[in-house]
């Protein structure tokens, strides 16, 4: 191993040590970015759940012209490129654009909207799939027990609560780790729209590997937590 290579690994090692120190010493800038990332992605996924789950019920249990097309659009949404969502929303939110009057560009709200659009198809789709896997007569049984429309939705939601949790976490996992839409819609403004992914891109481009790695570690831990929870839920899912 040459001297150059040794220096490289030493620098990476130092960067990693500094990253851990930034995290354990409670560095306000680092944790501020973590908090902002969580706030934006949790909010966006919650809004997606609030709209996506009822929409999933509607698609699963309604028969209407264009239902197949709607499902196909949701399926396409699984592979929606974040940067394209960012581009389209940016154009709409430009000062002279159709939504320019809202003054949302480069605000956390714009990022929430972008992440909402990205997570919504995932949640709709997983809700539809979960409902389609239930016994079709279960809904009739619940109706025959005297449930109102909302009681029916509530009881069926309880039956698919595990897939709904999975849907939430899949949606959250997808948006917390995306960078394209967040960068274009938020602009990576410190203390406002800077989130883990945009901060990693910026710090790496500036050569601040310690901070970039600190953010990377948190992001990885978040994703690991989501995957771990998903696995645990799937394992315990058979118990009623």
């Amino acid at each position: 191993m040459g001297a150059g290579s040794w220096d490289y690994w030493a620098e990476i090692g130092q960067g990693f040590t500094d990253a851990v120190l930034l995290l354990v010493t409670g560095d306000s800038e680092t944790w501020g970015i973590v908090r902002q990332s969580l706030a934006i992605s949790v909010s966006a996924t919650l809004v997606s759940m609030m709209l996506g789950v009822p929409l999933g019920f509607w698609i699963a249990y309604s028969r209407f012209r264009g239902r197949g097309l709607l499902l196909a659009i949701c399926n396409t949404g699984f592979g929606l490129p974040p940067v394209v969502v960012g581009l389209i929303l940016s154009i709409l939110l430009l000062r002279h654009g159709p939504l320019g009057y809202l003054n949302l560009r480069f605000t956390p709200y714009a990022m929430v909207i972008g992440q909402f659009i990205l997570s919504m198809p995932i949640i709709i789709n997983l809700t539809v799939v979960a409902l389609q896997q239930l016994d079709p007569k279960l809904r009739l049984q619940i109706k025959a027990l005297g449930a109102s429309r909302w009681q029916t939705v509530w009881l069926l939601s309880r039956e698919i609560r595990l897939p709904l949790l999975v849907a939430y976490m899949a949606g959250f996992g997808a948006v917390v780790s995306e960078v394209g839409a967040s960068q274009m819609l938020g602009g990576n403004l410190p203390g406002s729209t800077r989130v883990l992914t945009t901060a990693i891109v910026m710090e790496t481009s500036m050569g601040h590997y310690d901070r970039a790695m600190a953010y990377g570690i948190v992001l990885l831990l978040l994703v690991a937590l989501v995957v771990g929870l998903l696995t645990w839920l799937q394992q315990s899912g058979g118990q009623r």
């Binding site: 007569k137 009739l140 025959a144 027990l145 005297g146 109102s148 309880r158 009623r240």
Partner: protein, 253 residues
């Protein structure tokens, strides 16, 4: 039928763009159990679901105690006066007691009143000792007992049973049929039961309709339809052996 509790007039059902139930008249009195018997694909379950207001009608009307569904009686109000048990127990997450109590909760029965109805229902179907058990741990027979208790605790005006014993083994099935027959005798509700089994029909039903391809072929007591089939097709449906021998029915009636 003038004194019918449940009365359907010329109801037909369209499923997947074809008529699966031709216009049918149906009636059941309070305290009466009517069986729907027929081969696979005859439209038995479709008729039951239509009568229970769980399938949209293509034509015709359903009336409960003279009140027409959709005109005098909203679907929710109708569903709160009936109960249904299907081939699969279709229990929801939770304990046996939670499931048996569920319909009462949905119908707005007060928390104080519920135990006084749930406990006897659990005892009636010999599942009181399972009250706190999670439904995921029940055997098929226990789950179906829970489903029956959940329906009967509601004291419905009309009880709909869609082959409730079909998924059970023979001994459990025989025992449950006998138990249910005993329970039905003590109730004043109308019962509609879809069955594949003439013996079951003979134990449970006062009257039977023979359905084939969405058309009622014959109506009468279970004994009557077996002893005096009006057409060759009915004879075939209820047991060709009997027709061939022209002697005693092939089932203990």
């Amino acid at each position: 039928m003038n004194n019918a509790l449940l009365q359907a007039s010329a109801i037909s059902v369209r499923r997947d763009k074809r008529i699966t139930l031709q216009p049918i008249d149906f009636a059941a009195r309070a305290g009466e159990t009517v069986g729907i018997y027929g081969p696979n694909g005859a439209g038995k379950s479709t008729l039951l679901l239509a009568l229970a207001g769980l399938l949209p009608l293509e034509s015709g009307t359903i009336a409960l105690a003279g009140q027409v569904l959709g005109r005098d009686l909203r679907p929710l109000a109708y569903h709160r006066r009936i109960a249904a048990v299907f081939q699969q127990p279709l229990l929801l997450r939770g304990t046996v007691a939670h499931n048996v109590e569920l319909g009462l909760t949905l119908r707005g029965i007060g928390r104080d009143e519920r135990p006084a109805r749930v406990v006897p229902a659990l005892q009636q179907f010999s599942i009181a000792h399972l009250a706190d058990r999670s439904v995921g741990t029940l055997s098929g027979g226990e789950a179906q007992r829970t489903s029956l208790a959940r329906a009967l605790v509601l004291n419905p005006d009309v009880l709909f049973l869609d082959e409730p014993f079909a998924a059970l083994d023979q001994p459990t099935r025989r025992r449950l049929v006998q138990e249910l027959a005993g329970v039905l005798r003590t109730k004043q509700m109308a019962t509609v039961v879809v069955t594949h089994d003439l013996m079951e029909a003979s134990i449970l039903c006062d009257r039977c309709i023979i359905l084939d391809s969405g058309v009622v072929l014959q109506e009468g007591s279970p004994l009557e339809v077996v002893r005096r089939p009006q057409t060759a097709r009915v004879a075939e449906i209820v047991g060709s052996e009997y027709i061939a021998n022209a002697s005693e029915p092939p089932y203990p009636l």
